[in-house]
Symmetry: C2
Subunit: 335 residues, 2 copies
């Protein structure tokens, strides 16, 4: 079995995106929120079948852990009420995809975060989504959209959410949204910077001493971290922290969203297969075909197949680790 | 010959650091700038001989391209006048190190940048330092210290500096200073994020179409970039840019400040030896000994020696590329 831990509904029906636009317009105008449009099952089916589902089948995956489009979570726009309505609409749409293709998709939710706001709304929405069968959440470490005004992930500000995550036994993927800062290209800088930043925040703190049951997936292959693994081992030493294996790597996992063979080779060599989950971010950040291989950049299964791994290690990356990190998925599958 | 392109004067005499502290205190109090202290040649000699010079000799390097300590450039503190006085003092100290050890050190300057300020003072200081024999500069893409309030490096804001760089035939290392944003650990997040961000800013623009003679060194092995080289090739394609080889890699270079063998192996494999300059960031970000090797993390020469390279390729990394990127150094050496 191959489980892709990192898929976004980047092809949601236009009416859904249009509503978001109208919602933000109404917010700025101070007028009432428009009614959410009617979207048919057929529209949803079409939007998935011709994209995620087709590619998943072509590439030989079995399941995708599926969440709303990350780049339009837009926590920096509107306020917590706007974000709550948008999160509910986006998560409800994911639930409908899951209902239509229950053997293929499993839900992960977007949270109604907002810069400076409490996490109460996020926790409420998380509980609602877990009740619907969702198995995890996307946590934005920078709801300001590239201005980084929130405290580090090790700050008590985040603890109520972590308490709920531990209670519900769901992991978070640490994933930012769009950049509202012209310095940061979203998928080319902000995403990877966030991955790197989050890991270093964790390294400098002791979050898993407080929450030993908390699990975080850092996407995009961990940003810069595996490439600079020596730097991080050295920084842990300089900061008087335990070795990374015990300090972080019982609780932190990286996905395989690294779009070339040499990157995946480094990832599996340096990090080891206990902490890697198969992911493609498909259909996502990079949609083209690599002229040097003739295959899609984000066809990450090819790189995992091409890596120097024993069959049991490949199986860890493809499914066993995901089932361990997302126990609610394992339970749903009867595993 | 082995030229280390990335050394900072992290061991400058205490009186120099104390003056900076007093200068900023006076700035905040609105009182006059204190007099710069007297620092003897012997103090300078001692501060270098027991650290950079000793390690350089132990590790078998010949020269270091040497600049003021990056983490205390502190462009976010004070104003452009404060930064100008601090830059002059710091660069003058580098000049004295170079005068004391002319066969070992060559100068690169810090610029008096300040958030929102024009680059006039930076250009004036660059010219002053080049007149003193300096061969390059450190350019901070985020003088706000982690708030990223400056326009991208492709913005015309920066063009007057680039014009001076092309005229003087000096390259810049793109290097941030300390982080004043609690989200970003300086050496574990802000530095690497800046490298990644700068590369993506360049990718999204056409700076080298405007300035074909401009050369930029992105330190710390290029941040996350080589590890995600497939992503960047794919993003160039999606953004309608030429292939990276022609779009950026005639003008952009990475150093070898990557503190483990697997990272350097990836760097040389993916980027190729035409665009890599030997660097160690010594004495710098990571000062400990790697328990898995028994050697200092930042002893990057060992990784270059351990990489799968032909002798001529190693020679490119050790010296030939640096002499090409820093032609004023080549001229000083009569090469």
């Amino acid at each position: 079995m191959i489980i892709d831990c990192h898929g976004h509904y980047t092809t949601a029906p236009q009416a859904h995106s249009d509503w978001r636009h109208d919602q933000l317009t109404a917010f700025l105008a101070g007028t009432g929120t428009p009614h959410y449009p009617s979207i048919s099952d057929e529209e949803i089916r079409d939007s998935v079948e011709s994209h995620q589902l087709r590619l998943l089948r072509e590439r030989g995956s079995d399941m995708t852990i599926f969440s709303p489009r990350a780049s339009v979570m837009g926590h920096h726009e509107g306020d917590v009420a706007t974000s709550t309505a948008w999160s509910r609409a986006s998560n409800d749409l994911i639930a409908r995809v899951v209902d239509l293709f229950p053997n293929v998709f499993v839900g992960v939710c977007q949270l109604p975060q907002s810069p400076g706001a409490s996490l109460d709304a996020a926790i409420t929405e998380l509980r609602r989504c877990v009740d619907m069968g969702f198995v995890g959440l996307n946590l934005n470490p920078d709801p300001s959209g590239g201005h980084w005004t929130s405290p580090p992930l090790t700050d008590p500000y985040w603890f109520p959410l972590y308490e709920a995550m531990v209670e519900l036994d769901v992991p978070a993927m640490v994933h930012v949204s769009a950049s509202s800062n012209p310095a940061f290209h979203a998928t080319g800088a902000h995403y990877l910077n966030a991955d790197t930043t989050a890991f270093m925040q964790l390294l400098a703190g002791d979050l898993f001493g407080t929450f030993p049951g908390l699990r975080l997936v850092i996407p995009h292959g961990g940003g810069a971290v595996p490439y600079h693994w020596g730097r991080y081992r050295g920084l842990a030493d300089m900061l008087g922290k335990p070795p990374l294996d015990t300090h972080l790597m019982r609780n932190v996992f990286f996905d395989t969203c690294v779009y070339h063979q040499a990157g995946i080779d480094l990832l599996v060599k340096v990090i080891g297969t206990d902490n890697i989950l198969f992911g493609s971010e498909m259909v996502g950040a990079v949609r083209g075909i690599d002229p040097t291989t003739g295959h899609h950049f984000d066809d990450t299964r090819r790189y995992v197949e091409g890596a120097d791994l024993a069959p049991a290690q490949r199986e860890q990356i493809y499914a066993a680790n995901a089932l361990r990190v997302y126990p609610r998925l394992a339970a749903q599958l009867g595993l």
